[in-house]
């Protein structure tokens, strides 16, 4: 079954009057004849530059924005006409908005949401316990939402969106502003959730880590149109999404140009710090590090992820050629 289906989905925003011709309003095509299908169980990363049309698409998928033209069905429902039925079957997390009750304890928000979704008292207890346990929220269940840290709140937001066991979970920038550890925890949870419940995931993000760890299909959107639809492998092949291993060496060393599977990018401080790029599809950071260690003593290291902006820019460049 297709969880998401759009056909020629288009949204045009009309803005302020055009300064050159006052009678005409500026038109901005945010989503342009988008054809999209997502099957049950898929995990899809929806990426693109700011203003590319990601959020606009999501708003139309969930029925909070009326398309200018085209058709959209989500879990087989018409998002506008069947708003309430749809709301029972999907979960949505907007990284920048809260669905929790600001002044009430987290526990109370979960309980109200359970009532909203008509869970039985027993179901509410077991589901809440499961989510509290896996998302490690026991420590702040009694805390009013406004006093939570961002990491805590995001976990609570994700739990709130999953209480009613939605078939489709839509996450709009779920890891924005989170520290490395919080991101990691959230991703692990989402992977487990998907494995155990078969939840379909659609997420927008600016974080390449999210895409790599969570998504098996990637859609890149540019000016409201799909610029890429494929796997992470395919994306890597298209744009060469490489990681960089940065090593600090004990002594100044010549450029490490002969490490298998890695390419020397540049050296700093007479070779005390060297940067090596590698393709995670072909080798691993560990193997590159081992090869480097054979040649010089490593005192410190870090790995930089390819920036999603770079990946998107590459895709844009490739498709506009």
């Amino acid at each position: 079954m297709n969880v998401i289906e759009t056909e020629g989905l288009t949204r045009v925003f009309t803005g302020r009057p055009d300064p050159k011709n006052k009678l005409r309003r500026r038109r901005h095509v945010a989503v342009d004849r988008l054809d999209l299908t997502v099957e049950a169980g898929e995990s899809v990363g929806y990426i693109g530059a700011n203003g590319a049309g990601k959020s606009t698409t999501i708003k139309m998928l969930v029925g909070i924005l009326v398309p200018t033209s085209g058709a959209v069905t989500t879990v087989g429902l018409h998002p506008l006409k069947q708003r309430r039925a749809l709301a029972r079957r999907i979960g949505v997390v907007f990284g920048q908005r809260s669905q929790l009750w600001w002044d009430l304890p987290v526990r109370e928000s979960f309980s109200i949401l359970s009532a909203i979704h008509s869970l039985s008292a027993a179901d509410e207890r077991s589901r809440t316990a499961e989510l509290v346990d896996t998302l490690e929220m026991g420590g702040f269940l009694g805390t009013p939402v406004r006093q939570l840290s961002l990491g805590q709140r995001m976990r609570a937001e994700v739990a709130a969106a999953l209480l009613h066991r939605p078939e489709l979970l839509i996450l709009d920038e779920p890891t924005i502003g989170l520290d490395v550890l919080s991101k990691q925890r959230l991703r692990e949870f989402l992977v487990t959730q998907r494995r155990e419940h078969g939840t379909t995931l659609l997420l927008t993000t600016h974080d390449m880590g999210d895409v790599e760890r969570l998504c098996d299909r990637i859609l890149v959107v540019d000016h409201g149109r799909l610029a890429f639809d494929g796997t992470l492998d395919g994306l890597g092949r298209t744009v060469g999404a490489r990681r960089e291993l940065v090593v600090d060496l004990a002594t100044a060393s010549p450029d490490l140009v002969d490490v298998a599977g890695a390419e020397h990018v540049r050296s700093e401080s007479d070779g005390l710090r060297q940067r090596l790029a590698f393709d995670p599809q072909r080798t691993t950071a560990a193997r590159v590090l081992a090869a480097v260690s054979e040649r010089a003593e490593v005192v410190d290291l870090s790995i930089t992820e390819p920036d999603i902006e770079d990946v998107v820019r590459e895709i844009y460049r490739a498709t506009r050629r």
């Binding site: 909070i64 506008l80 708003r83 949505v92 907007f94 908005r97 009430l104 109200i112 009532a115």
Partner: protein, 272 residues
Amino acid sequence: MRPLPSPARNPYWRFLVAGFRGQSAYPLAMLAGLVANATFGLLKGGIMGAAVESAGGELAGYSAATMAAFVWLGQGMLGSVNLWGGSDLQTRIKSGDVAVDFLRPVSVQAAHVLTDIGKGLFALLPRGLPSVVIGILVSSMALPPSAGAFALGLLSLLIGIAVSHASMYAVATTGFWLVESRGISVFYMAFSGFFAGLFTPIYLFPDWLLTVALLTPFPSMMQLPIDVLSGQVTGTAAWQHVGVQLLWLAVVLGVGHLTTRAGRRRLEVQGG
């Protein structure tokens, strides 16, 4: 017999309770509100009391005691009825957070109005009751003549709170078209307090202005509940008051329902 479902499983009941409990998080704000209410109550009480006295002990059907009741019941209701024109929905439309409201399988209107009524009911405890107690201490304010009148007064008060929040909801839905609806709020505020009987009883108005006032929902928010609660009207007249209030409640709820339905199609959720 099947046991009745617990109210805790009813989302609308939960919205009401959430509003009530959420409001209890701000006791200092409540105290500040009470101080303001009491201060203005003393001023208003002095002015209105003097007006009754100079009119020879009776003014537009008010004695010193019923006028004091008008003043202090009105002050007590200020934290519970919304006459100032702002609301959560208004800010949520502007910020785009209203998206979250539409992603719940419930009526957006009922969710908002019930939450606001919940807040209003809570405010009766720290602001309503103390205002009345102050009124009793500093004046000879009239009290409900019987338990039945008191009960009907409470019902009238509850409907008044509901009318005010349902009206405010309808006003806030203009934000679906305007995004920033504060201008409408200011316009609303210019009339709401005046016609609700916040400054003087509307019965002191010239006939034509009284007619205009009665053609709006505002008297149902404050003046009519005060009339019933203070025993200014009793018996059939009191029931008539409640009937008028219910009529206005239906009207403002109906308007809010229609504007929500139409406005939803206009909504352009703001920000990312």
